[in-house]
Each structure stands twice: as C-alpha cells, then as structure tokens.
C-alpha cells in the first residue's frame, strides 16, 4: 500500500525486534471469538488512474451540476477567488490538528481570531466563536443557549425559518425541556407576524430568519423592541451570508444571538457540505457561548500570540456540564471564509451584495411580467423571491431542466405541500443576464 512507508520486509524486521513472528500476533490481546476470520468484503484496491475514472463517471451522472442554476434555499452559487482554494490546500493548514499546542499552531489560531473578528464585523456583534458545523446546528445551539441565559423554556420560531433548520432544532431540543412555538407568516407581505399574546414571560427567545426562507427581509428592529420588552432574546438566522454586504446588520437591529450559514463565503455547494456555521453574540453572554474561542495571549517576552481560551465552558473540561458537546468544528471551512472575506474585502463584499440584489430585481421584473405568473409577497427581498406559477411547480421545473437546460429554482412543495405552484428563485452575481432571460423564456414555455 503506497501510503504506508515501511515496506513489508521492514515490517517483518520490526516484528522480529519485538519478538513476534507475524502481524497477526499484534492482536493477541483480542479474544479469538471477536477476530474477523475472513477478508473484508470491500473492493480490491484501485490505482490512481482507475480511481479517478470511477469518480469521474459518477460525477458525470450529476447532470444538475452542469446547468445554469437558480437554486438557493440555504446553499448558494457564488464566485470564489482562486486564491481561496489554493491557500486552504497548503499542508500547513489542511493537515494540521486543532491548535492545542499554541507555539506551533499560531497560523491556525491567528486565522481563527481573524475569522471571529470578521464575523463580529458583519453581524454587528461583540463575540463570535471559531465556528459550528453549519447554519442549522448553529441555530439549534442558539436555542439551547437562550434557555441557559434566560432560564426560560419556550422558544418561538418563525414559520419563515428554513424548514431543515427547524427540523434540526427540533431534534436538538427534544430532550432539553424546551418547547418550540410557531410564529405565522403574513401571506401578503411574506414577513413573520409577531403575535403579542404569544410573548409572555415564559419565552426564552424569538427566532427569525432574515432574509427569510421566502427571501423577504424582516423588520428586525421592530422585533427586537418587543422581544426585549418581554425579557426574551432575539435570535437572528441568516442563510445567505452575502446579504451582510448590503443589509443592516442584525446586531445594529438589536439581535442578541446571530447565527448564519457561511457557505456563501468561498465554499462550494458540494451537495450540502462541508459548510460552516457562524455564531456570534453580545459580550455579556461570552461565557455561555458553545464551541471554541481563540483569544490574545502573551509570552514571557511580551510577544503577542493566540490561544484557545475560556475552555472551562467546553466538554473536555466540563464533561456533561459543558455548554455544548461540540469538539471538532469546521476549521478549514472557516479559514476558506476568512480568506474569502479578506480577498473580497470591504468593497468586494458590498459589490457582491449589490450585484445579487440588482440581478434579483431584474429577474423579478422579467418573471413578474410573464402572463400567468405572479409574485405573491410584497416585502423587500435581497436575492431570493417566490414566484407563483400558473401550474404545478415540480413538473414545470422538470420540463424547464429537460427542455431548456436551466435549473429554475426550488419547488416549495418539497417542504410545504400547501404551496404546489410556488417556486423559490435565487439569483447571484454568477447568473448572467442571458441566463436570467433564458429562465424567464423557459418558464413561459414550460408553464403548460
């Protein structure tokens, strides 16, 4: 096996040096009745050439990867500068472990500190952690944290939060004594309605997503005042991180915890992962935050460095009393996001956001003008919006793909059976005008 340095002959010599005659004797401490007495029933080894052929053949069966796409809903096609992938492939980054030995892990630690700072700047918060698995688990952790902070057990979640995020949160809180309530969506505006009677002193947090699952930008300021008046926390969820370049930050709107999916920052859609969860909060809650934190430290000569800190919150110290069970997070993906945010920089993040919003507005105008199609929600949007088609959406999208070679968006019926004709369309800076025109033409031609 070419990844094993010691040759079979060398291994024989090493065995003899240990007083053993065969490799099987290395396992003499195992009882005979648990030893596998046959070879594994997995395939024979492939060469590099054969392996690449196999994977290329399987990749070719992913037809959707070759079409212009208007799919969003939690995963977004954005442009990533070439340097993002080349920098994260440096051995020093991708083959390092969690930075437990700071003297020889300063590259990773400084990058995490920069990541934390960038996340704070974009979300408008004071403290961010070193990352969560993804946006959905970050939301679940935010709900658990809200219970720890408030000692209250009811959490109201907007019905316009990504349905998969809600499912994940339900799993996480199933045994935590937390009850999830639901805030309805106003059909006309597409925004979440906050029913004042639901906001009593048992409510730990209100969770809203903005832009929400239907693409509508929520009025977070109005939420914050009412949620705080009830003594609860406002948790804001963002699935499209590119929106930070244009929309008022959740922190500036009064959010207490902000969680986001960071995939838009230079990370390929890669059939759903690996992505990176962003998690930020107010200074006063820093000791309740889940996951790892990097902080500044100095050596004896006063040189600045970085270490993992406030570890007494974490599982390796606190065990069952830890703020979370998370250990390995999404280090390399957080690094990709850090390189992306740095390379695009202040102006690039703004320009990407502006282009997304402008192109989405153009697409909305084109599709909204098609006979039989309508735009059911009136609230402002960023780069996603719902289109109501004159016929069943899933079939329409299949025809669009096969006849016009465009992936036209998401049939909302995948999650919401009561919305058979609705399509969630997402437009980013990667969609050319010609693609948008082809989408509009295709929708017209496919809506029979």
């Amino acid at each position: 096996m070419r990844y094993i340095p010691n040759s079979p002959e060398e291994r024989q010599e090493m065995l003899r040096g240990l007083g053993l005659s065969s490799a099987a004797e290395l396992f003499d401490s195992l009882p005979q009745d648990v030893i596998l007495k046959r070879p594994l029933d997995t395939p024979e080894a492939l060469s590099e050439i054969e392996l690449l052929e196999r994977f290329e053949a399987m990749a070719a069966r992913n037809a959707a990867a070759r079409r212009p796409s208007f799919l969003g809903a939690g995963a977004y096609h954005h442009y990533a500068p070439t340097i993002v992938d080349s920098l994260i492939q440096r051995s020093e980054f991708f083959t390092a472990y969690t930075p437990y030995q700071p003297e020889i892990s300063q590259g990773t630690l400084q990058a995490i500190f920069e990541f934390q700072t960038l996340v704070c700047q974009l979300t408008g918060m004071d403290v961010a952690n070193a990352s969560m698995y993804d946006g959905s688990t970050a939301m679940a952790e935010a709900v658990l944290m809200a219970e720890r902070v408030t000692r209250r057990t009811r959490v109201l979640v907007s019905a316009a939060v990504h349905p998969e995020y809600l499912r994940v949160t339900e799993t996480y809180v199933a045994h935590a004594g937390i009850e999830l309530g639901r805030l309805e969506v106003d059909e006309e505006t597409g925004r979440t309605s906050l029913d004042a009677s639901a906001l009593d002193d048992g409510v730990a947090a209100v969770v809203v997503q903005s832009p929400n699952f239907f693409g509508c930008v929520e009025d977070l300021r109005a939420f914050a005042d009412r949620v705080h008046a009830a003594g609860a926390l406002l948790v804001v969820v963002v699935t499209e991180a590119a929106s930070f370049g244009l929309l008022r930050s959740p922190g500036a709107c009064g959010a207490d915890i902000v969680v986001a999916e960071g995939q838009s920052f230079g990370v390929p859609v890669s059939y759903g992962g690996p992505y990176v969860g962003l998690f930020s909060t107010r200074e006063k809650y820093a000791r309740q935050i889940p996951g790892r934190l990097a902080g500044v430290a100095f050596d004896k000569e006063g040189r600045r460095g970085f270490v993992l800190t406030l570890a007494t919150r974490e599982q390796h110290i606190r065990r069952e009393k830890a703020t979370s069970n998370i250990c390995t997070n999404e280090g390399l993906i957080a690094l990709a996001a850090t390189v992306y945010m740095t390379a695009m920089g202040r102006r690039g993040l703004q320009e990407v956001a502006a282009q997304c919003a402008q192109k989405a507005a153009y697409a909305r105008r084109r599709i909204g003008a098609l006979e039989g199609f309508s735009l059911p929600h009136s609230a402002p949007v960023f780069n996603e919006f719902v289109v109501r088609a004159p016929s069943e959406a899933a079939g329409l999208l299949r025809r669009l793909a096969s006849e016009h070679n465009v992936t036209g968006g998401l049939a909302l019926s995948r999650y919401l059976p009561g919305r058979p004709n609705d399509i969630l369309v997402c437009v980013t800076e990667t969609n050319k005008r010609a693609d948008i025109d082809a989408l509009a033409e295709g929708l017209k031609g496919s809506s029979r």
Partner: protein, 513 residues
C-alpha cells in the same frame, strides 16, 4: 549558547489582516453589472440597509492576502512535515488524490436541492460508502449525516433513547424512562456531554488497575436499575483492547440497555475485528481519523453512525436508499418516510465532501490495504512502546494497540512534568503527543504514531524522548523553559482567560472598550 530570535523578520511578525489594511486596496474584480440598475431606495428602504459602510473590514490587494496567509501558515506544524503523534486523533497521511476527487466539478458544483434524478452520482457515492462502512463495522444500518464525532455520538445516543422509549412503551411518563447512561472514567469528554444533550443522566464506571472497564462495578451499576446503555471506546483511551467486550455487552443487554461504541480508535481494528461481532449496537466513526479525511486545523469532520438492523428505523432522515430496476440498473434516492427516526441532525445530508474522500481512501487501499494499514499502525505504536519502556513509566502492562500510554512519574522528581516534555519535543522537531488524557492517569502522555510514518522517523522520536528524559535529570531548566526554537514562547493562557480579548478592534476604540 543562547539564541537571539530574529524578531524583526517580516515572516515572523505578520500582523493581523486588519492591521495590514490600506484604504483603497482591492483584491478582486467582478464583471460589470449586466442588467439595468434599479435605484437603491427602490430595492430596499434605507432603514433595512447597512449604515456602517463595513468599516473595519480589510482592504488588501491579492498579493497582500496570499502573503498574509502563507506567512502565518508557516507557524503551523502539520502532518506533511512529520510525525504528529496525538493519541486518539489518528493523524495519518491525507492523500492529495482524495483532495482532487472532492474537487471534481460534478461533485463540488452540485447543489444539495438538485432533483434526485440529476444527482445520481452523488447519491451513489453516499450509498456505496454506507455499504463499505457497514461491512467494516459489522453493523448494517448507516447514516452519513453527522458532521463530526461528537455529532455522531449525539445521534447514536438519541437513537438509543428513541429505541428504548418505543420498546418500553414510554411516551410521556418521565418516571418510567430509563435514564442512566454508563460511561467509563477514561472516556472522552464529548461522551458525557452528548449523553446529557440527549436527556441522559451520566454514571461513571471505574477502571481496573489494568486500565480496563471494571466488570464488577458495571454489574453493580446495572443492578441498581434504569440503565439505558453504555458508551464505550474500544480500544479504550488507554490504548488497550477491552478483552471482556462480549461480556460487557451481555451484561448491558441483560439489564435492558444498549451499547454505544465511540469509534475514535477504529484505526486499531479495521479489517481485524468488527464492533457488530462484539455485541455493539451503535457506533460512530470519525472519517477524519480512521479514513484520513484531513483534520483541517479543527474540522470539517464527519461522524457517520452505524447500527444494528434493530436500531435502523431510528437513524436520522433522510436516508440514502437504492432501488434496483428489473433487468438491471439501479437508482438512488432520499427517503424521509421513517416515522421512528430521531429526525434530522443537520441540514442536507452531511459533509458530503468528506464522504468522497473517505470512499476514495477505502477504494485506494482495497480490502487488503485496509487491514495492512491497521497492522502497520499497531506495529508502529508497539515499536514506540518498546523503545520507551525502560525510560518512561507505563501505567498499564497490557500490550498497546494503535497508541501507547506513558506518564511523567519518573521525571517529576526533578520538577519536569508532562507539559514540559511535550513542549521540549517541539524543539526536536516533533508535534507533542496528547497530554493529560485520559484523565484517570496522572501526567498522561498518549502517543499514536499511525501507519503513516517510517521506521527511521519512529526511531528519531524514541531517541528524542530518551534525550528529553536525560535532560530532565541533568539539565531540567532546558526542559522547563521549552520550547526554545519557536517564534513565540509559552503563552500565558491563564491571563488570556481572565481578561479575554476575543476579537480585534480599531486602536481608538480599544482604549475605551
């Protein structure tokens, strides 16, 4: 001889990106907007737009960015540089071929909500990986959804919770629920944390003087009732195979509980023994350990769950399934219609990029190569154990599996402790071993070389450790002041935690903040 550090060298003093920023620098270019521009107020009212102009976000050219991250990267130790013997972390070689596979555009560019018929290749990758992991563990039900080891643990114990509630007919009566999860005192901290998150009460099982689970204590705890299950690492965190594993599983099953195995140490077993054959009900694997997906400085990981047929209905949804058409040809799909499932643990289907790399690892090794890697890993650990046996204290006599455990007992007489030995190893060019874990062994040093290191380098490591042991007696100050060769010395972690500085702020604001 004292060494003066070249503290003014640019590559040794790279500032934070924020400190490097210069207004007006750009590191990107987008195509010009190709649609008619809408007035910004018509797009979004001013009160919904940012007002801070993203102040503080860096402005840098492309070479600035490349130099910045390249320079700081050189302050990291890494597997490609040499032995990285962190115990229970399995820092093996991360193949570049697997990186290439994960970047094939047909995978990297595939949206997770693409219609199933247009994502057949990705679903086939996941299905095939599930099949191989089932064969390797001897446990037929597999979900690839968990994103890391602790996430897989949480999933596994939640499945135990759901199974027991269904079997015992418990719906709302809390008093009737089996709540006790037994965990050995040598376990990873994630085990009790995951059990707690899943609604269990943790009871700790003692270890014997041989470093094994104390069977008598286990029986005693089981006799007190309400036992839901056991979370066991095997080989355990002392690097020893739990030779009573079948009896342990029998005791738990007789008490009405289930056995969860932490698969962190599967690199000692692949192709040699299977948890399913030992009586284990559910296990998580760490693809970023045993199956070589890169650890990335702290993730992404991937923590698939494998379970018995009995537990399969409780796995997370959606499941990846295969249907065979009559006359050949298979199609793959996602199935969410599993009413007994614990639910979703993550959006979409798990860290798919890691699934690709792990499958590439399995196919590159082949069935013989998988066993060969296990043998080589255990052999390397034995080589180190043998080499250091006369120099360092070994808390347990049992022959080690893929990692070996020592303590600082013989060195503490001169005031040298495990931390000092670890820091001094850095001066010899090695990454330290895992230290102070497992918690039950004072001054623990847990060494896992993996199969990815050659004989000469193993010997160099043994020689370095012996040299440090000599220094501990003859020249303790050198060890106590280590490391001496790094850019910075030991950092004051206690001070960092007392007054945490967790982000950069502009200088003028920092004064008042």
């Amino acid at each position: 001889m004292s060494i003066t550090k070249a503290t003014t060298h640019v590559t040794q003093n790279e500032a934070l990106v924020f400190e490097r920023s210069q207004a007006g620098r750009r590191g990107y270019r987008l195509p010009a907007l190709d649609v008619e521009e809408t007035a910004i107020d018509d797009l979004l009212p001013a009160e919904l737009r940012r007002e801070d102009d993203l102040e503080g976000v860096p402005e840098l050219s492309e070479p600035d960015v490349v130099r910045h991250f390249t320079r700081i990267s050189t302050w990291n130790y890494n597997i490609d540089l040499g032995l990285y013997p962190l115990g229970s972390c399995t820092m093996k070689y991360n193949s570049r071929l697997n990186e290439r596979v994960a970047r094939i555009p047909g995978f990297a560019g595939l949206h997770p909500l693409a219609p199933e018929e247009d994502a057949q290749g990705a679903l086939e990758v996941m299905y095939e990986l599930q099949q191989h992991l089932a064969e390797i563990t001897g446990l037929p039900g597999v979900s690839l959804q968990p994103a890391a080891g602790a996430h897989g643990e949480m999933t596994g114990v939640m499945m135990i919770r759901a199974f027991l509630d269904a079997r015992d007919g418990v719906t709302s009566d809390e008093a009737k629920r089996r709540k006790v999860m037994l965990i050995p005192d040598s376990a990873h901290g994630t085990n009790p944390a995951s059990a707690h998150l899943s609604g269990f009460t943790v009871k700790t099982i003692r270890s014997t003087p041989e470093g094994l689970t104390d069977l008598d204590h286990l029986r005693e705890l089981c006799a007190s009732g309400a036992v839901a299950g056991l979370m066991l690492t095997n080989p355990n965190t002392c690097g020893i195979f739990e030779r009573n594993i079948k009896e342990i599983c029998r005791v738990i099953h007789e008490a009405g509980g289930l056995v969860y195995m932490d698969g962190a140490n599967m690199n000692a077993l692949v192709g040699v023994a299977r948890p399913g054959d030992m009586g284990v009900d559910v296990i998580h694997l760490n693809l970023h350990k045993t199956f070589s997906t890169p650890h990335g400085g702290g993730g992404p990981g991937s923590g698939p769950c494998c379970c018995t047929a009995e537990l399969e209905p409780f796995l997370p949804v959606p499941r990846v399934v295969r249907s065979d058409a009559e006359g050949g040809g298979a199609t793959y799909g996602l199935d969410s219609e599993r009413p007994q499932s614990v639910g979703r643990v993550k959006a979409f289907y798990g860290n798919f990029g890691m699934h690709l790399r792990a499958l590439a690892y399995i196919l590159t090794h082949g069935r013989d190569g998988l066993r060969e890697a296990t043998e080589a890993a255990v052999l390397n650990a034995r080589f180190i154990a043998h080499g250091l046996a006369d120099t360092f204290d070994r808390p347990f006599d049992s022959p080690p599996m893929h990692e070996c455990l020592f303590t600082d007992k013989r060195q503490t007489r001169k005031g040298v402790h495990t931390l000092d030995i670890a820091k001094r190893l850095i001066d010899y060019g090695f990454h330290p071993m895992t230290i102070y874990f497992p918690l039950i062994v004072q001054g623990a040093m847990l060494i896992e070389p993996t199969e990815s290191v050659g004989r000469a380098e193993l010997q160099q490591f043994v020689d370095a450790m012996k040299e440090i042991a000599r220094e501990a007696v003859e020249d303790a100050d050198t060890v106590l002041g280590a490391p001496h060769t790094t850019r910075i010395g030991r950092l004051d972690e206690a001070a960092a935690a007392r007054k945490p500085v967790l982000r950069w702020r502009p200088a003028e604001k920092a004064a008042g903040a």
